[in-house]
Symmetry: C2
Subunit: 668 residues, 2 copies
Amino acid sequence: MHIREVRQGHKPGERYVRIHRPFHDTFREASGDTLVARENVYAPRGNVGRAWGQARRFLIGRPLASSMLAHERLPKTKALAVFASDALSSSSYATEEILRILVLGGTLGLAFTLPVAAAIGMLLAIVVVSYRQTIKAYPNGGGSYIVSKDNLGTIPALVAASSLLASYVLTVAVSISAGVFALTSAAPALHDYRVIIAIVLIGVMTLINLRGVSESGTIFAAPTYLFIAIAMAMIGYGLFQLMTGGIVGDMARHDAELRAWESKHAFEGLGILLVLRAFAQGCAALTGTEAISDGVPAFKPPEWKNARTTLLWMGIILGVLFLGISFLATQLAILPDVDDAESVVSMIARSVFGDGPLYYVMQGSTMLILVLAANTAYADFPRLSWFLARDHYMPHQFSFRGDRLAFSTGISTLGILSAVIVFVFQADTHALIPLYAIGVFVAFTCSQAGMVKRWWTRREPSWQYGLVVNTVGAITTGAVAIIQSITQFTHGAWLVIVLIPIQVYVLWRIHAHYTRVAEQLAMEEPADVPSDSLPEPILVVPVAGLNRAVARTIRYARALSTNVTALHVTDDMDDAAELRKRWKAWGTDVPLVILESKYRALTQPLLHYLDAVGKQNPEAPITVVLAEYVPHRWWEWPLHNQTALRLKGTLFFRPNTAVVDVPYHLLR
Amino acid sequence: MHIREVRQGHKPGERYVRIHRPFHDTFREASGDTLVARENVYAPRGNVGRAWGQARRFLIGRPLASSMLAHERLPKTKALAVFASDALSSSSYATEEILRILVLGGTLGLAFTLPVAAAIGMLLAIVVVSYRQTIKAYPNGGGSYIVSKDNLGTIPALVAASSLLASYVLTVAVSISAGVFALTSAAPALHDYRVIIAIVLIGVMTLINLRGVSESGTIFAAPTYLFIAIAMAMIGYGLFQLMTGGIVGDMARHDAELRAWESKHAFEGLGILLVLRAFAQGCAALTGTEAISDGVPAFKPPEWKNARTTLLWMGIILGVLFLGISFLATQLAILPDVDDAESVVSMIARSVFGDGPLYYVMQGSTMLILVLAANTAYADFPRLSWFLARDHYMPHQFSFRGDRLAFSTGISTLGILSAVIVFVFQADTHALIPLYAIGVFVAFTCSQAGMVKRWWTRREPSWQYGLVVNTVGAITTGAVAIIQSITQFTHGAWLVIVLIPIQVYVLWRIHAHYTRVAEQLAMEEPADVPSDSLPEPILVVPVAGLNRAVARTIRYARALSTNVTALHVTDDMDDAAELRKRWKAWGTDVPLVILESKYRALTQPLLHYLDAVGKQNPEAPITVVLAEYVPHRWWEWPLHNQTALRLKGTLFFRPNTAVVDVPYHLLR
């Protein structure tokens, strides 16, 4: 393998080619101009580098080659665990959220529990059927952003994307908070540590996802299926015991708790607004159902068929769990704990299973699936960010795959944002729910409306069925979004309603920026831009004195150009005279210019000097060469390079000016 | 005026001189190689620059030329205000600190108030007489650091310097806290805002000092003399009224307050330790007496004589104020407020003057002199830092004078550190005092011991007198430092006792670093280092694609060297093939090398490529040329240059590698 280098010969126009032979232990030759890096190229360097590399490998695993991307696909069983854990786990808090609102209407209010739950169950059926259409129409992944963009245009697409990004962050925050609540219901001693436990869990989640998606599937399958099994068992055994009279609702305790609620909260009396608010709050049960349509390409082929099947399973399981838990709660006369010390599901499990091992299995698997439910967001937030970055709506960093092929920037961003939210809201699920579901339903509505438009425009086979299904879906989810905005506005939804337009504006501005940059940088026809060399640059080397580092910098600059000037800016002319003498004694052919600055300023005289030089040679690029010191120990850094750093900051903004850093490595 | 530039001619060895004519509106020609910057060079540039420049000029004033330095001298009257305000103002809290300790011994303890105050008065006389010797011996400024370094060696000098640096920071913290206490004694409504008031005051102080020392003198003279006048008036009128029976001590209130103290604090009973602790605490009265000897060069000539006279005045005034206030406090049977709502001096002033305007003048001027007393530290902390930086014990930044000739780094550092301490200790004077005086007395001891050594070694005329005076001074202040360490150890002094050795170690390590660097960089005989050019550098330009910015960077690199290679690191070989085609169409003579990196890493393959190139040309310096984007709007920054920034961070540590930033200015 050779790297060719074209070199100007001694006579004008003469050229010769110099042959490089790179080392075969690090690079393999692929063709005339192509090298392929070998494995050892990726080994970290230096002590710090090696330690960091080992820590990375331990936490994240060894790097994966780009060619392995296609193999990272999920079978249906694993996909259910990865994509449906969010939706399924919401059954563990949705019932409680309904009860917490209805209890404010007293006994009369609580009577609406089952009707509200049934309405949500129907809504679930509508959403699942609607999304089955979307998956078929978008086998390459039809998240709300894609569908809206395809059919409705930019603004609805950005509204959907912003809503989803916000709701993914809240998915992590809510799921982790609810998971910790499941834990502290069983182990009340941990109640005071819930925030720190939640943040540690988010950190662990983030690391697991930086390892890549396939391993996540393996890790998450067991807890998801354990949760489904134990929750189904709880519902089944609970119903059986209810029928056989093995357990009954404790009405005395129920009435006492109702009185506790009444004394702590101002009861509102029953009204349509209260029921609607309970419904809006309970719609949290549906969060996560869109995850599968977003992640179709992660399924094993045939992707869309597998995804549809998985979505149907998920809908059925979720429906059974949510309705079953709601039914048991009403029959067992269970109310949410007024002090928020134990969750409703925990109370049901305790009633059904008693205080034995099965209760702890239920609480443990609830906690696990909730914590792992956050993984849905860890799969989807980076994927949506990637779509947006690809379309230039988000910073391009979000489109790069890390060592393990995961979108590291998206994963890390999600981890940090959700940890901040958990901290701010002190891991309180109830406070987060009003912010959460609204974003999900806005995205549902955009997506369904996009499908309606699509059916109408394309009129593909059996479009009439699709049109009806998606129109019902769009109207229903749109109505829910409006109900949520109104009933939960003062309970936190206002924050989301304010933030989403801001986020849309930011995404739009980022896109406008990238477009402007692309226009300015574009070379439609490469040959339109000259390819010759620029005129010889003028090099200016600011020098504070003459020492070995300065000498090396001058010799280096002299190798780059014959047009080099050393510039000494000073207020001390005796000092300058001394330097002039030493400069002469050194014997370089680089001239030294002394610039007297009586106010001791360096930057401004230098800039004006560059202006003066530039005006005399308007064509030549100006280049400032800076000697910098690389200290031997980390703590020595603040003792050096302050001036160079300040100069660089200023010179960066000067047009037509390049800066050369010539580091001088101190050896001890 | 001409800037000569030596240029290599076409034939080897041929040279010609190109003549530059810089613009006479910005530079004046002084000699063949010297330019003098004109005033307009210092005008700020750009909108941000101009706004910042105007803000600076408003806050700090216009820049002062270095030649104005000599004129910034203080007459004795101003010098007393600048250097003695710290010492004088301590009379406003020293008595209270003694009483707060002795009250824990009950009536029996309080009987020791006057003996303890008298002992401190004698100590003051000893210190003043001792320092008069120092000022005479060190007319160029004889701070403890200089005297110790001159006579005792490095470690004692660093101990003295560290103690003083710490005590200057505490001077600001204590004075400002006590000043705010004077304010809140008169206006209790402000009590809850004392921390924020103190921090704002520190900010104002810092700005005033960044304006330069002479103006400070003017600002501070009036309040200092007002305080001296009103405090003397209070003492004189108070004594007169006591003698004439106009006021008497209110014994009933005294007994009630004593019971209040007894119920709130565990009384210790009288013991030698309690009396010694009261003495140690009261020694805070002496803090600041060394300021004059530190600042001798700031006096008008003859400096040492004026400084000695000023020191004597200061000693007498301080002695009268401190003893007078202590005497009045005992005669008026005043105890410190157990709730810390009103200061002892405030109670005395209220007793003597009543609640009329004179009381408010007393409180106002006490507050002012205390706040301004911090100025002593603002004069001395930067000056000591400058000494230490000059001797390479502190970062060199501390030796640079700012626009207004003030040592900006030292002033800003002092402001920040003292604001942090005020915040941590919540502006509580009593909590700060045990940390404060110990540093001062350690420095006293080092300084006096140094003088003893000096008299003994030099035996100059009348050395016997000096030896006796300074021996007494050294033993006394050393004894006080030991008493303070023991009696106040558990009250905060331990922190200072731990921090001072750490600080000495840090200063010593910084010095060792600068020495090592100087050894590595030194060019004793300039001609010993070659002055010819280095071999032609090898330029590598990492390219992500081909656009106008990349094209300009390549053309720029080509102007610097004939040995340029463009390097495209990628995992996408289709993309690379496309780039290869466009590269060819562009028509540059710079070869493009494709480097396939299947793990998507950029840094490691690039480093190994540089290794390979470097091994083939061990002599040639390697240079990486980076295209960077300069966005048009501030918020666009995070969208660019992430990769360039990371690369620069890594390449900085690679030996023999320079980095060129070629910024591309986006215009919209």
